[in-house]
Symmetry: C2
Subunit: 216 residues, 2 copies
């Protein structure tokens, strides 16, 4: 299985490419923005594609050609300017979805945020709301496609070392989760067809990742 990882140079993306490369029968193609980001992925033996997510759909579709799945894990994380929020978290996600369709890649795994519901938008403070709105519409766009999607809604992301154990369900109590474990959830989702058409929240927990996502 060949997986295009969009936003590969982010922290989750880097873990994910590394895990994919370690997995028999899987290989990653890292979509990155700049040439100087390539060496990390080349050292892992992964292909790279240099594409600007703020640009046209065509180069993204070209990067997706021949892939069996696309993972979208690019994002501002809510801490960049609000212009980037709408350009990357919303429009970049939608362009990646459209690129997957154009390249006939059916499998699509989206890294969303913890809660992108209408209620979450209305409850968010003014500085966080734009990010929630952007992720909300990206998720809606994906749900309205015919793609075999999985939407992962992580809790508060940390840089702690992963534990390989999480709690996953359509609704879980708010909590922290290491980025490394989210990358494992993405890998496990790609490997488990029962996650197709599903979405779930993930926080730190005590269930091995592969089992936790079966319960969703």
């Amino acid at each position: 299985m060949k997986v295009l990882v969009v936003g590969a140079n982010g922290q989750i993306g880097k873990h994910l490419v590394s895990f994919i490369q370690e997995t028999d029968g899987m290989e990653a193609k890292a979509m990155i923005r700049k040439q100087e980001q390539a060496s990390y992925f080349e050292d892992l033996g992964a292909e790279t594609e240099i594409v600007d997510l703020e640009g046209d759909i065509d180069p993204i579709a070209k990067a997706a050609e021949g892939a069996d799945a696309v993972v979208f894990t690019a994002g501002s994380g809510g801490h960049t300017g609000k212009d980037k929020t709408i350009m990357v978290d919303l429009d970049g996600a939608v362009k990646t979805i459209e690129a997957a369709k154009a390249a006939n890649v059916k499998r699509f795994v989206m890294v969303s945020s913890y809660d992108t519901s209408r209620e979450a938008i209305q409850e968010a403070n003014a500085s966080f709301a734009p990010y929630v709105i952007a992720k909300h519409y990206a998720d809606v766009w994906l749900r309205n496609t015919d793609l075999d999607y999985t939407i992962v809604h992580p809790g508060l992301l940390t840089n702690d070392k992963g534990t390989r154990n999480v709690t996953a369900a359509s609704e879980v109590e708010r909590g922290e989760v290491p980025r490394e474990d989210i990358a494992r959830v993405l890998l496990a989702s790609l490997q488990d067809e029962t996650t197709v058409g599903k979405e779930f929240q993930v926080v730190g927990g005590s269930t091995p990742v592969a089992d936790a996502i079966k319960l969703v």
Copy 2:
């Protein structure tokens, strides 16, 4: 015909409420953000509803109850912070569309921007792109509803006195257009069922508004 004007306190909105109030068989309900904005509309004999577009859908739906049409002309115009762009131009528009559906108001007239196509997004400079993206997704959302919509794409808006003459077509050459004339286009669209399901660009021209929009 009773028309809920969302964004009534904007310059186009003020003209529109005034024109509606002058028209036999029509009356406007002005949706505004603050009590101190009400007197202008009360002086015109229009009802007012104080609703925060950044809030929940319910109060907007309540404002729409009993109306025969909703006009969305709220907006940052591209000059406010990018947080407001996504919160008002995108999410405020979508919430207004959902509110119209919830209130069983079928007729919906949207003030969009000149060009909200994918090409326009990609060609926009970094400071304008977020606004185009916001308007793009609002337009897409409206097109995907069962509402009897009309989407008006004005050229470069000016505060010049209106001429009551415009050029309107699915594509017109980029040009200026007075906000007062756009308000007349909105009024004429509400009065002309042939504009249902259509969208058109409008710039200054030499055809009387009511005739110009028949040609689209």
